[in-house]
């Protein structure tokens, strides 16, 4: 229904793309920024996802979303993933390089805690960089974008069980790298 309205909606019904933007644009922008790093390139890529959606509205799944499975969200994240891959390929980057210094939005109470936070983030960033790309990506999709296993499976083209195993391995690998830190925080 949304898909159809997106394509055929006249001006008075233009709220439907707006709804899509309101609902999914932050998600897509966050994912793209995490992959490419924040900046104009990530913004353009996120906008391109919705531009392509406008070009091919029929491709948007129109099944009713549930808590565990939102096909439209998975579709948009998958499209964003392909756009990111294209951008990375154009960059000539075979692997993701460490991003530039991210903007730390975490509220810092004290300089000590800020120093501790910056250290742990660098440690986490390095640990993620050492993970295989697929494991790193599934961690992002699961814990940052908060996608379900079904949705991650749709994004990655895998079955939910395979995603679960992949996620388990990624967590174990990450635990070996930075487990102490998180355990300490716990």
């Amino acid at each position: 229904m949304v898909r159809k309205a997106l394509w055929t909606a006249p001006v008075v019904q233009a709220t439907t793309p707006t709804e899509l933007l309101d609902r999914y644009f932050p998600l897509v922008l966050g994912y793209v920024s995490a992959r490419l790093g924040p900046g104009p390139e990530a913004e353009d890529t996120a906008i391109a996802v919705f531009g392509e959606l406008c070009l091919h509205p029929k491709r948007l799944p129109n099944s009713t979303p549930t808590e565990a499975d939102d096909p439209a969200r998975a579709y948009l994240v998958g499209m964003a993933r392909r756009k990111v891959a294209l951008v990375l390929r154009l960059r000539g980057r075979r692997r993701e390089q460490p991003l530039e210094e991210p903007v730390v939005s975490v509220s810092v109470a004290t300089p000590e805690s800020a120093a501790l936070g910056g250290e742990s983030q660098e440690q986490l960033r390095a640990a993620l960089a050492r993970l295989p790309e697929l494991q790193r990506e599934v961690l992002l999709l699961k814990y940052r974008e908060e996608l379900s296993l079904i949705e991650i499976g749709q994004v990655l083209g895998k079955k939910p069980n395979a995603v679960g195993q992949l996620l388990h391995r990624a967590r174990e690998a990450l635990r070996k790298e930075v487990g102490d830190y998180f355990d300490d925080r716990r």
């Binding site: 997106l6 233009a14 793309p17 707006t18 899509l20 933007l21 644009f25 932050p26 922008l29 966050g30 920024s33 995490a34 924040p38 990530a42 913004e43 996120a46 906008i47 391109a48 919705f50 531009g51 959606l53 406008c54 070009l55 991003l99 991210p102 903007v103 730390v104 939005s105 975490v106 936070g117 742990s120 983030q121 986490l124 960033r125 993620l128 961690l139 992002l140 699961k142 814990y143 940052r144 908060e146 967590r171 990450l174 635990r175 930075v178 487990g179 998180f182 355990d183 925080r185 716990r186």
Partner: protein, 500 residues
Amino acid sequence: MTDDNLHDALTGLYPTPPISPDLAARAFQAATRRHKPRVWPGRLAVAGLALTVWGGVALVNRVRLSQLYLELESATPRAEAVLAQETLPTGEQQLVYLRPKDGWSLALGDNAVSETKGETTLTYYKPWNWLVRTKEIKSRSRKLGGIYPPGFWLRPTVVLKTRKITAQVDELSMEFTEGINHQRHVFWYDTRDHFIVRDETYDMANRWLIHRATSEKISVAATQKQLSAFLPKPAPKVLDRATYRKGLLQLAGETFPVMGDKAGQFNLLQASLNDKGEVFLLVRNYYFQITGAVDDTGRRYVFCPTYPISRGWFDGESRDASVYWLIPLDESAPRTAPKSLTLLSNNRQEADFWTARTRAVTIPFPTAKCPALPEWTVALDSVPQSPRQLETARLLARGNEAFWDNHSTPETLQRWYERLVPHAKAGEPMIPLMAQIWLSRLQAETGDAKASYATLAKVAHREAFRGGEALQYHYGTVKRSPRWRAATSDLWKAVGLPLD
């Protein structure tokens, strides 16, 4: 490491950038951009290209076929070579070409063959079948890249080549060659001034083509081998002699196989005499009509058509065998058993009936015994058995209906009569001949030599054939006037047989 820890850590590591109003506006613009419907120039171009190629190929083929057609036309200049063009009763066009090249070449062409429905015999008439069998067209087509155009829209032309040329001008016999398949018979032979093509494709109804080479003398002969190279291979045909003998042994007390298959043109299976001195011949012969005979005693015989008998007798095999009934003309001659019989044969085609040479075939009779033959009872065994049908067949056999059903024209019959009856004068009606036959029959059956049948016959003739109005004849369609029916009724009443 819990999920919450990971979520917090990754969210803190990769925070979502703030969405500025400008970014939101750009995203909204991208998501709501209206795109023009796509015109697919690529697909249109591909389609156009395909159409162009297809049309070009079709055009080229058409041009090349036109050239082929022109070549064929030029190869057989119609002004000189077309012997005739004839429209058959079926509406088909028959064309016959003659072209001097490496001997004489004969080309038969026809078109619109598909208009005749229900004629399975037209299979070999289809242009395609002829085309693939035509060497010349094959070679010419090969020049065009081996194109055998399906649905050849040109007038199909069949070229039958004969390399052997014989000038048998002064010979008495006809020379002909036949190419046989079970649907089509094509052969030609030369006479003094004729070049004759016969085509029995249709139904053996004498729809044959006969064309005269009017401009020059033509003499063409070809062997079976030569002709068979251009004709479909004949299907092996089993001559069911048992069938023939079954009928013939009932018909004839003694049989005289005179000429075998090796004789070719004339295949006389058996011959017999009855006590009336009449001769019955069982002949497998498509191309000749026995018109008369002379035995060694000098007695002459005349052919009496028995077409329905032969057809009914062999029931579907009438093309293979015909029964000829020869009635002695000279009743005054002594009835002695002949030792030989010379058949006078002629080709059956009407237009060439009297111009073609007569072929004489002498049949030896090794025995003087002339068995008495109940010919009718026997001959009618295989025809319908009901009394009414029997009587009908009897009448037919006596030359009444048969004469008119035998695809003869009045002119032909007239010439036939004049030819066979020595004292006949030109233009004299032929009916006296029939009357004579009937008279002979009447006298033979009644035993009364002074029967008044001759008088009745004269009356019948006078009444029925005055002005020839009874002979309203159109190719197999018998139209008899009421006066003719009345006359014949009287005639047959006199004989003692009712007219069916």
